[in-house]
Every structure is written in structure tokens, then in C-alpha cells.
Symmetry: C3
Subunit: 363 residues, 3 copies
């Protein structure tokens, strides 16, 4: 679909300059841009490659001399990164799937589909499931018994929503996301070596090897509004009550959320993050890639972790953390510096010992 420069600027609340009725079909990096693309040149270094492409119009930084850049039209946005949100939404051509319920889908007659629901080929919707108006259930996706998905949701191909899971409005799930697998919860008849080692911080004592009996999951998963799930991520059911994800929280690919976990609103959990069972996470928490969080602990509001952080104990609100074990980022940066100089420290101490002992040996 084509838009004029003026239409785009108006939609984004940005300012347009030059030939504002120029028509645009897409967006592109400067070097790839055709004459019908809006080039993205929001920094001077990006603008340098404009001549290598064919762009006639670009989104530029505040204060750019767009005419000197050889452009016929320009859009200027005060916070370019934020404008990207509206611009990419306008230009998104979607997945190209048809509407309606595909004849190959298996939809239980007791399932309730709202107005305008799409169900892709070979999807399965089980008994008692409720799908809100306008929601798309992608090809080969699965919605379990008595599960609920709110309105205006979009499930890509092969998403799995387990029995009794409840999901709010505008839910988005990437391919292969799994909600509602059973919790990983087992128990031994007598106290296990793990229980013992946790109490003693490392000593298994004289516990004997035993087999594991499963604790069944009776809870489901409750997910708020505006939540997004990444490809092949997994969110387990709670044991007695539901595992809970708040409103506006975004979860990346291959993230693992254990049973009984509670996550607040507006969190970002990046790729490969793992949250072990019964841990509670506040609002506006950002966990970088491969962050791991132990079971049964608490992470306060507004906590941020860096990549690979291993969280073994509670974190008070507002902290920025890094490392294994997680420490304040500034402490970990000091530690990183320190360990690099450790060899020199050993040398210094060895030298000091020699120096200090020498006078004594002279006695």
C-alpha cells in the first residue's frame, strides 16, 4: 500500500518537508532504497550512503540539511527510535494468510469463536475454548480445552496454548511458543539429596538415592493484556494456582518461565532467559539475554540485568545487575577489571613476601 510523505508524517506526528506528496511503498536502509522507498537516515553516518541508493525521500535527524543530502522530501522526528514503531506498523505487510476458518482446521463444536476470528489450516481448537473477536489462530496452532484468548490477538504458526490457559487482549505469539506445559516438580519419599544440599549449602549428608514422583500441575497460566511471546518459548502451568504474566510484558525466543512464577507488568525478558519455579518478578523489569533466575526468590520493580547474569538471591528494586553471581553492575565491572589483573597481584604478593622475609633472614 502506498502513502504520501505527508500522510506518513501526519500519522507519526512528525514534520514533513519538500515534495510531501511523493508516494512511498516501503522503508529501506539508504543503500537498498528504491525511488519508492523512504530511506532511514536518522544519523549522519547512515545518510552518507544515500547516494549509493535511489531514495528520493528519507527520514532524517532533527537539524539535518536534507536538501544537501540530495533528497526531494524528508520527514524529521524528534525521537527517531520511537517513530520507528509507528512507521513499521504502517508498512507491515503481514503474513499473507487468508481470513475465516480454514476447512482443514479441527474446531470443536463447543468452542466459541468471536466475530472475525481467523483459524488457519490444520489448527486445532479444543472443547470449550473461547477466542475473542478479531483474533488470528495461525496455521497448525493449538488452543486447548477451556482455554481463553482475548480479542485482536495474533498467533503465528505452530503456537500451543494448553488447557484452561487465560490470555488477555492483543496477545501476540511467535511460532512454536508453548503456554501451559506441566510444571517441572518432583518429590522423593524421603528427604532428597538436593533438599539436604540446599540446607547445608553443599553437603548431601547421608541421603540415599531415590526415584522421583511427579507433583501434577493443577493450575494453568494467566496472561494479561498486550503480552507478546517469542518463538519456541515455554511458560509452565502452576501447581495449585496459575502461573501469572502481567500486562504489557514481552518475552523473547526460547525463554523458559517455570511453574508458579509471577511476572509483573511491562517487563522485557530477552532470549534464553530462564526463571525457575515460584519466583516473583516485579514491574518494568528488564532481563538481558541468558539471564538465569533461581527458584523461590524475588526481583523488585525496575531491576535491569546484563547479558548472562545468574541471579541466585533476591534483588531489591531499581538495581542494575551483572555477573555470576549477580552483583551491582559497577561492582561486577570492578571484579571484571580485578580478575584480569589477578596474575599481577599474585606476582606482587609473592615479591612482597620475599621482600618482607629478607630482613628477617638477615637476622
Amino acid at each position: 500500500m502506498a502513502y504520501t510523505i505527508d500522510q506518513i508524517a501526519t500519522a507519526l506526528g512528525a514534520m514533513a518537508f519538500g515534495a510531501v506528496d511523493l508516494e512511498i511503498d516501503g522503508v529501506a536502509e539508504p543503500v537498498d532504497a528504491t525511488a519508492r522507498d523512504l530511506a532511514l537516515a536518522m544519523k549522519p553516518e547512515y545518510a552518507e550512503s544515500l547516494p549509493r541508493g535511489a531514495a528520493r525521500a528519507a527520514m532524517v535527524w532533527d537539524g539535518a540539511d536534507w536538501q544537501a543530502l540530495g533528497l526531494e522530501a524528508a520527514i524529521v522526528a524528534p525521537r527517531p527510535r520511537y517513530v520507528m514503531s509507528g512507521l513499521t506498523a504502517m508498512m507491515d505487510t503481514g503474513q499473507g494468510w487468508g481470513d475465516g476458518v480454514h476447512p482443514s482446521a479441527v474446531v470443536d463444536p463447543t468452542a466459541e469463536l468471536g466475530a472475525g476470528v481467523t483459524v488457519g489450516p490444520l489448527a486445532v481448537i479444543c472443547a470449550g475454548a473461547k477466542i475473542g473477536a478479531g483474533t488470528v489462530i495461525g496455521p497448525q496452532s493449538f488452543v486447548g480445552t477451556d482455554a481463553m484468548v482475548g480479542t485482536k490477538g495474533f498467533l503465528r504458526e505452530g503456537v500451543r496454548i494448553g488447557a484452561r490457559v487465560r490470555i488477555g487482549e492483543r496477545f501476540i505469539a511467535q511460532p512454536g511458543a508453548v503456554v501451559g506445559g506441566d510444571g517441572f516438580s518432583y518429590v522423593t519419599p524421603e528427604k532428597s539429596s538436593v533438599e539436604q544440599a540446599r540446607q547445608t549449602l553443599g553437603d548431601q549428608g547421608d541421603t540415599t538415592a531415590q526415584s522421583w514422583t511427579r507433583i501434577h500441575s493443577l493450575g494453568a497460566v494467566s496472561i494479561g493484556d498486550d503480552v507478546e511471546l517469542g518463538a519456541n518459548c515455554t511458560i509452565d502451568r502452576g501447581t495449585i494456582r496459575d502461573t501469572r504474566i502481567g500486562n504489557g510484558t514481552k518475552i523473547d525466543n526460547l525463554v523458559m518461565i517455570g511453574h508458579n512464577v509471577e511476572i509483573g507488568n511491562d517487563c522485557l525478558l530477552c532470549g534464553h532467559v530462564g526463571i525457575a519455579g515460584s519466583t516473583r518478578i516485579g514491574n518494568n523489569v528488564v532481563l538481558a539475554g541468558q539471564t538465569g533466575v533461581s527458584d523461590n526468590i524475588f526481583i523488585g520493580d525496575n531491576v535491569i540485568t546484563g547479558g548472562g547474569t545468574i541471579v541466585l538471591s533476591n534483588i531489591p528494586e531499581g538495581r542494575v545487575m551483572l555477573g555470576y553471581p549477580a552483583m551491582k553492575m559497577e561492582t561486577t565491572m570492578e571484579v571484571f577489571k580485578g580478575v584480569r589483573r589477578l596474575k599481577r597481584l599474585f606476582d606482587d604478593v609473592a615479591q612482597l613476601k620475599k621482600t618482607v622475609s629478607k630482613p628477617t633472614s638477615n637476622d
Copy 2:
């Protein structure tokens, strides 16, 4: 399904008190409990919220004054965590799927299904596959050519069992679990930079860049009895012989088991654990979340690791390990303490150097 307090206590081998013919439909945390739920109040701190719910009966700790808690009936179990196993099994309402072979499933005529096998909608069962009596093959699941799944198994939605995989009795697999992907095994015509760097511990020498040729996987995967697999976990085929998982071993979400790996009986592998190719793991081993284990090494019986442990070499039996690299938990705890005080140590040594050098400069 409803049970009386007496029926529940009898089934669990626990003691019942009070109005033991009270009927119960489910279990709940104290605050969420209705009059027909058994509240779980196995610790005094949980019991405090009983008045905020409507429970008439609860499971309480040994010695609890249940009448003072306002209850009409109570169940007391000596090891409450273990009793949870039986209780949740009784109360599990399952996935709500129908019985029999769904007409939309694609079952090869040469596949053998035992008595009472369920095959969900849009599942695929390939030629020569054998499914044991009473096993449920979930919606959209896949069982490959000549694969075998034992009796009383339960495969959730979208599970993938590759060709020639052999699985024992009472197998449980969560959505998206993959058994029998090809091993990640490649070779270069001449010695590769990786082979060289491993031999020299860090020096690539003058090896030149080459392309990788695949080593095909001819083995499959052999899985014992009572094994459970988590959502979206992956277990690769062996190169020549099978990758092997022993009896009673439980594997969590997003765990990766490489080709040729051998895992013993009654192990627990938690979320995001990765075991690289040809590594052997003993019995009753517990690997916490995000533990990584190098290829071609050995982990003895009864080893336990903490979260995020990176295992780069063999671990003798019975050790409790933590850290990167994996060390005995007590050593790692010392190291964690030490690195936090590293800055002070550098300061101390700097001060010592000044102090020690001063008298000399006075000479």
C-alpha cells in the same frame, strides 16, 4: 470429581480429623479456596490467610491446632511435600481430549496401535511405528518410522518422536519436545582450527579455514521407563549407536541433549541444561537450570550442580558443584566472597608495597 476428606486421607496414607465426610472437588491456596476446596496450609505462615478464603477443610502441618484455625476438617501428612504428589494426581482433571483415533490423524496402515491407544487430531504416525496399550498421542504430534513408544504414555500436543526412537513405559512429553533430531557433528578435510585449539588450549596454529562436512547420524535414541520430557526440549540421535536416557530420568523445558550422550537413572535436568556430544552422566544426578556440560566428559553418580554451572571437565561422584568453571560449591562460595572483596585486596597490596618500599627509600 468429588472426594471426601476421609477418601483423600486414605488414598494418601495420611490422617484425617473432624468432619471427614466433607466433600472436596479441588485443592487451592488458602486465600483462593472455596467451601469445596481442600486448602493447602502445610506451614503456619500459609494458614494465616485461611480466614481470607472460604475453606472448610485443609491439609495442615503435623501438630497444627486445626480447630483453632476455624476448620471443620483437616488432613495431616508427615511429609507434606511428598503427599502433594498423590493429592495432585487425584485432583488432576487432565487435558480434556477425547478417546480413540481422531479421523483427521494420519496413521500409516503398517503402524501398530495397542489396546486403548488415543491419537489426537492431526497427529502423524509413520510406517512401522508401535504404540503401546493405553498411550495417548496428542494433537499434532508425530511418531516417526519404526519408532516405539511403550504403554501408558502421554504425549502432549506437537511432540516429535523421530524414526527408530525407542521409548519405555509411562513416558510423558510436554508440547514441542523433540526426540531424534540429527546430531550436530561435522568434520573438515584437514585438521580444523577447533581441533588444533583444543589440543593447544587456545592456539589455532596455522590451520586454514575450511568448510564443514556433515557426519550423518545412524543411531537413534533409547529412552527407559518413567521418563518425562519438558516443552521444546531436544534429544539428538547418536552417530553410530543410540543416545541413551535411563529409567526415571526427568528432563525440563528447553534442555538440549547432544548425540551419543548417555544419562543414567533417576536424574533431574532442569530448564536450559545443555549436554554436549558423547558425555556420560551417572545415576541420580541433578543439574540445576542453565547448567552446561562439555562434550566427551563424565559426571559421576549423585552429582548436584547449582544454577548456571559450566562443567568443563569430569566430576567425580557425589560432588555438589557451582560456578564457571564448576568447582565444589563451598569453593565457589569462597570465590564469590573473595571477588567481592577484590578491590579491597588490591588496595591492601598497594598500601603494603608503599609501606614496604618506604624504609628502603629511607636508606
Copy 3:
């Protein structure tokens, strides 16, 4: 299928000895070998167990006295590991699936299938997709709108290829691999706490909590020739241009490749590797299991990392890295040694302080 020892040796460019017209159906480890298996005894320690099996022929090391090992025939290869590649390819019996387009598959009439394309049961091929000659689209797999897969590809069961993804020749994907999920890219109206903490290395300042707005992915994924993807791995779409994977690169199970990432040729990315958005990786790079790489950084050609390495900044070409944070492997090995002796160092310094302060107190 049966081969003579002579046929196998000829195909592998290896030398055959003894009864070279002996027929072989498969390969096996010495202890498991039947009379119709070629035993793999490429090292003297493997050959020791030949008598426990029934092998009449074996692949042996250069210089082995095969007759003394009780064999009737032998194949000798100069680089046995490389010969494994050809040998396992010859002996691979495949997945046992039928040919042609299965009647239960849902193939859009506008999709173009090349000569000899196989589409398994319950697979979906969307409008405008192009599948090259000889490619196998496995059972329950998905190929999105306008996606392209080259010739001679092999997609196992449940693979997901998103809209507009372009893939080269001889592509192999294991079960559950996902290509073309949306990027994990969000923005807040005002500067977020994360942007602030990154600039200040740990200080969130007075940023206030905000909700996240998604940046849509308009790019797709471009994948070269001879690429292989592991089970349940995920490769996200680019924001404006495609995420790119070069020729000959092999990606293992549960690997996560973020949006806009560029990966060169002939790389190996092992299990659980995560590459965050917009990072560039050169050619012939080998990242061991659980290696994590931050966003927007650069890894040069021929870099190798060890298991669990956390890469937080650029790595120049040719480096062998290990640790958290990633350092040269030799540096990290020194650090590993140093932290183990840290307790002793603290003791030494405490002792030194006492020794040094003593004379002073004597004054």
C-alpha cells in the same frame, strides 16, 4: 542396502585389504557389530572390544595389523574422522517417508513446487512459496507466503519457515526449527531506563517506568547454501533488511539468532548459543555451547569460543576466547587458576599486613 568392502573403500577414497568382496549392511561399534556390519575400530582402544562382537570387517587406523585383530577384511583411512562423513552418508537409511505430495498437506495453488518435491502429511505451503527441485518438506512443516527454499533441501517434521524467507540450496532443518519469527524490538515514548543504564554503565537516573511499543519487523531472513539448522532453534526477521546467514554455516539445537544479525560463511554455532540483535559475525567462527553474544557488536573471522562464554564486546579476528566476560582463553585459564587460590592470597596478604605492621608497633 548392501555394499562390498571394496565398494565402500572406493567411495571413500580409502584402502581395502583382505576379503574385499565381503558384503556390509551397516556400521557399528565393535561390541555391537554383527557379521554384516563394518566395525569402527579407528583407534587401538576401540579395537580391543572387537572379539566381544561378531565383526568380520572393520575400519582400522593406519598401520593396524588387521589380521592379528581377527578380521577377514579391513579399510584403512588416513583421516578416519573425515572418512566418517562419507561412510555415514552411504549408510544413512533416512526417515522412511514416502514421495510426492501427501493428500493431507495444504498446498496453496499459487505455490510453485519444483520437480520431485516431497510434501509430507499435514504440511502447509502458503501462497507464492517456491520450493526447489528435489526438496523434502517434512510432515507438519510450514512454508510461509512468498518464502523460497532452494533445491535438494530436507526439512524434518514440524519446521516453520516464515513469510518471505529466502533459503539457498541443500538446506537441512531439524524438527521444530523456526525461521522468520518477528524481532524482539520495543521502544518507549521517552528514553527508557535501559537506554540510560547502558549509557551510564549502571545508573538508571530518574527515568520513569513506561510501557513498550513494538517495532514491527519488515525484513525477512536470507540464508545461503548448505546451511543446517538444529531442532527448535529460532532465527528472527530483520527490522528493515533481512537477517542474514552465509553459506555453509551450521546452527545447532535451541540456538537463538536475533533480528538483523549477520553471520558469515562456514560458522558452527553450538547448542543454546544466543546472538542478540544487529550483531555481526565473520566467517569460520565457532561458538561453543551456551555462548552468549551481546547486541550490536562484531566478532571477527576465525574466532573460537569455549563453552558458556559471555561476549559483551567486540572480538578481533582469530581469537580463541573463554569466560564471563570473554577473554583470551589463556587469560581465562589463568583467571580460573587464580580464583581457586584466592583464599590463600587473602591469607597471605593478611599475614603480610601483620608482619609489616609489627616492627612499627615495636617502635
